[in-house]
């Protein structure tokens, strides 16, 4: 009888410890996930000319992967402007870099709209759209959050504004912020190119 109590107690302790370890593992994992390998992966999207592209399309180039939408008046133009200014500072080395703007608003952002939008910032930028499912998949790969806010035609999108730097083999290297100064972005890229 007593033994049973002890084993119940023991079981409780073991369960409690397991819970602690579990929570610890979860928390560490959650923290490590930001900035850890495992960001990025295969995707299939549509470029500005309506052609199907995949992650393989851009192998051999450093990628700057940024998510946004053309309805966005401030955050997206700010990120793209900072990248464009940074690439100007890099000079010819900038040709080793491919910037991808992936829409989080596939309902409104057609390939043609994406093309004209990104070209206003830098002719080398590519604007990618896709089906809602394709966008959801690539956002998941990049751990990007987006959410529609508001009703009717004039809704806006909350969305992650991280700029991911992927190496020429498609592996995650580092991340930048959309409001990083152009000089800061240029310095980070210069180290890599």
């Amino acid at each position: 009888m007593r033994l049973r109590y002890i084993s119940f107690g023991g079981l409780a302790v073991i369960l409690f410890l397991a819970l602690l370890v579990g929570v610890g593992w979860y928390r560490t994992n959650g923290e490590v996930a930001v900035g850890a390998p495992g960001i990025g992966g295969p995707f299939t999207l549509t470029d500005g000319d309506g052609r199907q592209v995949t992650d393989q399309t851009y192998r051999g180039k450093w990628l700057l992967v940024y998510f946004g939408y053309t309805y966005c008046p401030d955050a997206c133009p700010t990120g793209l402007s900072n990248i464009a200014a940074a690439l100007k500072q890099l000079g010819p080395d900038a040709d080793k870099v491919q910037t991808l703007l992936i829409t989080v608003d596939p309902e409104r952002d057609t390939p043609a709209l994406m093309k004209s939008y990104v070209a206003a910032f830098d002719s080398r930028f590519a604007g990618l759209s896709g089906t809602p499912e394709q966008i959801a998949a690539v956002a998941r790969e990049y751990r990007v959050y987006y959410k529609r806010v508001g009703e009717g035609e004039d809704y806006i999108m909350d969305h992650s504004v991280v700029i991911y730097v992927m190496d020429p083999d498609g592996n995650y290297n580092t991340m930048l912020r959309h409001n990083s100064a152009p000089a800061e972005i240029a310095a980070a890229l210069k180290k890599l190119l």
């Binding site: 700010t78 402007s81 939008y117 959050y145």
Partner: protein, 151 residues
């Protein structure tokens, strides 16, 4: 003293370059600018600095322009790497402080820009303040990829 004089002189000399400034009461609206419309996009944002040089707090409570179907004031919050743009009805302009409308912070959103804004264009906008009244300003259009006003 000599250095102070030189500094004052420099500031005075530099002043004509900072001519794009509109005053209404104790408020100065400095360098209102917008980015050129990016391709076929329909929306834009206006940025400026508003200095309240007076002793009384004021508020910006409204704006109007013929350059877009609608205008709204927005704040821009970034939390855990996620940008959230939210409409605000008024922005405080505390006495002796400057409020910056700048990329990644407060902005005036232009919804349904028509015709598209082109670099070197200007357009008129009326700003309404709770105490200082209203004033018409001229907004300068910079290139689409501008990170700050060039003029």
């Amino acid at each position: 003293m000599k250095r102070l004089l030189a500094a004052t002189l420099l500031i005075l000399l530099a002043m004509p370059a900072a001519a794009h400034e509109i005053k209404v009461g104790d408020l100065s609206i400095v360098h209102p600018w917008a980015r050129a419309t990016a391709g076929a996009a329909k929306n834009g944002a206006v940025y400026m600095r508003i200095e309240n040089q007076g002793d009384v707090d004021d508020q910006i409570v409204g704006m109007a322009t013929a350059a877009a179907e609608r205008v709204e004031m927005h704040t821009h919050i970034v939390e855990n790497g996620t940008a959230m743009m939210r409409k605000v009805e008024a922005i405080d302009l505390p006495a002796h402080q400057a409020i910056k409308f700048k990329p990644g912070e407060f902005h005036i959103m232009l919804i349904g820009v028509d015709p598209p804004l082109m670099e070197y264009d200007t357009f008129k906008m009326t700003l309404v303040f709770a105490k200082a009244g209203s004033v018409e300003i001229e907004v300068y259009v910079e290139e689409a990829g501008a990170t700050e006003p060039a003029h």
